[in-house]
Amino acid sequence: MISDEQIRVTVARELRVPLELLQPDTVLYSLPGFDSVQLLMLMVALDEMGVKMPTADAASLRTFADILVLERV
């Protein structure tokens, strides 16, 4: 089972931000240097690690908490 910490590390790596910036209520767009392209790369990385994301959830992805609640396989 994928842990919250594994997800945090992946998100931090793909969005190129320090781990400590990722709190549940962190708005991804507000992160320093945020780039919408990085978000697409993050979606691919999450998919490859086994985080399942329906298209409707992808459409409304906004905060770190939105990622943490996704189903994991």
């Binding site: 945020f34 298209t55 409707a56 992808a58």
Partner: protein, 360 residues
Amino acid sequence: MPRAALTAIHHCLPARRLTEAELEARFGAKNVQSIAKLSGIRERRIVEPGMTAADLAYSAADRLLTTRNIPRESIDLLIVTTQTGDYQIPGTSYVLHERLRLSKNCAAYDLNQGCAAYPYALALAQGLFATGIAHRALVLNTDALSGVIHPQDRTLVTLHGDGAVASLLDTATGDEGLLGFHFGTDSSGWRYLCMPASGARQPRNESTRQEIADETGVVRTAEHFQMNGQAIFHFAIHQVPEVVRAAMEKFHVTIADLDLVILHQANRFMIEQIYKKLGVPPEKQFFYLENVGNLSGAATPATLSEAVRQGKVKPGALVLLAAFGVGLSWGVALLRVGSDGLPLIAASTDLSLTDLPNSP
């Protein structure tokens, strides 16, 4: 049962180029380079003021018919797909029917379809061939989205170009032709690609002209085309491989049987992800977006047309076309090229305003 076969194809692009340098001045180098790295798009072709999608379609069709010496009265079916027609009423097919001097015995259809337009148009034509209604068809896929994208919407301006493709279909005489189709729709996502104030549901007024910036700094109004990029990207890399696999199973073919797999040219990273999931080897892949952009409903046939121009479509080739987008919709078509191959129509694909003496 009569079957339609593709016997000629030609595409037309506006001569005006929208370069990275122009976009970097508008959006900043970092934003533009970041998007370009993912999209693989370095330059787009967009219409000049006064030029429309119908002009591009006219030019593509006129060159095809003239070069191939096709008698205009021999065409008994015209299908035009566009989301950026000349008028709300009438359909663009009627405008083009007149400009192309087609016969009164030629049926004219408009198909409001986006990026999946080509398989849909081919299937409609195939149905009319099969029922004996049509014997020679002209299919025109054209879009000029640059006119409905807000100039400050960097997520769309950087990706989209304008273009048109003319395809000539004749009755198959051998094993060539349109061999199979597979379609589907996930209408739960229609809002992800939408121009809200563009019809009867939301009439245009002062409020629909208000510019709104979202959290990422993208600016647009309700009168402009809008895309939820995250949703579309997710849809494409998850749904499209499944759809193509289902289509191949239905057609009883595998990747090994195919000579070319052509996908809608939304962005290079997305296409690569789909090719990777399907296991399509590099020699069966083809890209046509780096210097033209995403041509929306014209993208898939333009890619086929360019592959023909580059000699990548051999006589007898088995080609799979997969297109997806607005709706959300998808379509897959399987076609076999005739033993004589597809002819090169014209060296130039460019269109300038001065080339259009006949625009109404």
